[in-house]
Symmetry: C2
Subunit: 195 residues, 2 copies
DNA sequence: GTCTATACGACGATAGAC
DNA sequence: GTCTATCGTCGTATAGAC
């Protein structure tokens, strides 16, 4: 809707708030970041900020949603339709944001949490994208068909999420090596040493 | 340390607090559980509880440590020296505790967090245990040696941690299937369909 | 619709009496 | 070792100016 009108300014401010929140959480982590800090960064009072969001959890959920969206767009621009490796790299790099993602996923285990819906729809979509990647790999002979693509997708996503936990504790952890190891093990062309 | 004396009661109370905290977090989740609730369950005031712990994060860290310890003992009793599958199952079942584990791992990304040291020493130990399991598997021909055991260990732990995130959102997720799939793919005896 | 001011209840934490 | 009392900060709720 390219509708001009009274909503224009509000949407701009809402976007400014989301970007400011993202920046602060990236810099200072999930813990110890208050809404008052975010409000101050936007030259706003706390209630002024809350005018745009239902709650702190709602704001955080939208920050996560925005991150996912920009990552998705960037990926589409590269004409990398189901580059599984890119899906992995997208989340990484910034400890504060990985911490945000993991913390939100934990909190979203409560079905009443605003982020629950986000994750509940994100995982099936992600699974389907990765399953497509797997199907392509199978067709090209890069990936074994011993396990159904849907189940391999669950496995690949688990590796991507899980390695982030290890990386959060030890930043020297190589987040791409396990992925490459798994893909290499899945590759039928890699002659397995038959016992 | 069979020393009798003034510490006896204190240690008992400390243990009671840890068990009470574990129970409450298991039942009500990580969010929305306050120290005052834990204190009440122990017939104690908040400061009375804080006498035993430096901070909330310190208490939570010790809860996690206790869980790890009991799981380790239970495993040793079974003479299941490096049962990798048991390591996986140990964490599961209770959403509140999985949520606690994931939340703590995220918070522990800060080196100043009391749980950081716990995870920082836990992961290498876990990695070594799983690597032993892998080495046994390689010796028995159950696991391919295409990837070094140390790297397979990282991969296996990532799967175990990562699948928990998916399970937190969708409880119908099978947490053992991806593990079995991975082990099956790693098995050289499973004839790969050569393209 | 956008925003400020003010206030509320609950939290984790601490000081000091007993 | 345990208490009462209190502190500062958090997220949230409401009233009302523009």
């Amino acid at each position: 809707m390219a509708k001009r009108g009274p909503y224009e300014k509000g949407e701009a401010k809402r976007s400014e708030i989301l970007h400011a929140a993202l920046e602060i959480f990236a810099a200072e982590g999930y813990r110890g970041t208050s809404l008052r800090k975010v409000a101050a960064k936007c030259s706003l009072s706390l209630p002024g900020l809350m005018h745009y969001f239902d709650s702190k959890e709602d704001l955080l959920t939208q920050v996560l949603r925005m991150r996912d969206e920009t990552a998705r767009v960037r990926q589409a621009e590269r004409a990398d339709p189901h580059g599984y490796r890119e899906i992995i790299r997208e989340g990484a790099k910034t400890p504060g944001l990985v911490e945000l993602f993991v913390s939100m996923a934990a909190a979203a285990s409560d079905p009443a949490h605003p982020a629950h819906a986000h994750f509940a729809e994100r995982y099936p979509v992600l699974r389907e994208r990765v399953a497509d990647f797997v199907r392509d790999g199978v067709a090209e002979g890069r990936i074994s068909s011993a396990v159904p693509p849907e189940r391999l997708a669950v496995l690949l996503i688990a590796v991507a999420d899980g390695i982030q936990l290890q990386w959060l504790i030890d930043r020297s952890t190589d987040m791409e090596q396990p992925i490459e190891d798994l893909l290499s093990v899945l590759d039928p062309r890699t002659a397995p040493d038959g016992a």
